[in-house]
Symmetry: C2
Subunit: 140 residues, 2 copies
DNA sequence: GTGTATGCAAACAGTTTGCACAGAC
DNA sequence: GTCTGTGCAAACTGTTTGCATACAC
């Protein structure tokens, strides 16, 4: 994905195109490991050392609101972000905390109702798997 | 549920029976609203004013480790706890943040695999629904 | 009597906020 | 030129930790 394409996507979302925003969007989409704000900030340290952590936070908030990235609330309570497009679920290793993407078709037959008892209108269904990954199982 | 029954359950879990533990277990199981540590602490303010917030935290950790209560990681990043027995899922209202219990049988056909691609051994499957509750929908 | 649980206060981590400056449009 | 985005520092919230005392067993 070229940088100009990213700029267009920012504009399409009604956002101003700035250096920090391009860099953060790039970092989020390139990092498949559901990075935290701190991890994104550190990842930018060499290429864009002047981008501050608070800019990372506010920009991530902007991106989430604009629908450019997904916010994960799982595990350790830290803000974690997912730049992967398309519906998929997450498996979290209870030992090491690593988060794996799980293709929903592969794993579970999840019926996605549009309404739940009590008049709850369903916007989205999230499925999370608590797992032990192969690495943690063997090094047990 | 009588207090002596709670004491027995603590003993069965290998835990010492103390006043704070009985009070906190009572508060968690009586409060159907997935209380946070702070909410539990405030709920104890009249009946057990001497129980400190750090005791609530450490006791909740003990209970979670002993399997007496479930820990929820959803929403606002705060520790939230669920004393309801039996497998069930959660719906979180995106507007007001209230968490609803959802009987799994009612809502979704979730196949629960014991293993996922990549050698992930599944311990537990959690389903979360992002919803808008009827209250927030009408007062829109 | 021994060992764990408790309470208090201080430390800590992650996130948010206020404000002055810089940059996109 | 205007209005929003940015960087810095300080504030804030929720949680954890260290240590001396109290209590369950």
């Amino acid at each position: 994905m070229g940088p100009s394409e990213r700029a267009e996507r920012l504009q399409a979302a009604g956002l101003k195109v700035t250096g920090p925003r391009l860099a953060i969007l790039d970092a989020v989409e390139r990092n498949r490991n559901h990075p935290s704000a701190e991890e994104i900030h550190q990842g930018l340290a060499e290429s864009h050392p002047s981008v501050s952590l608070s800019t990372v936070y506010s920009t991530l908030g902007t991106f989430v609101r604009a629908g450019l990235v997904r916010k994960l609330s799982e595990v350790d309570g830290r803000l974690r972000v997912d730049g992967t497009k398309g519906a998929h679920d997450h498996a979290i290793c209870r030992m090491c905390g690593v988060i794996f993407d799980i293709d929903r078709d592969v794993a579970a037959a999840v019926a996605t109702p549009t309404e739940l008892p009590g008049g709850l209108a369903v916007l989205e269904v999230r499925v999370e798997y608590d797992v032990v990954c192969s690495n943690c199982r063997t090094t047990d």
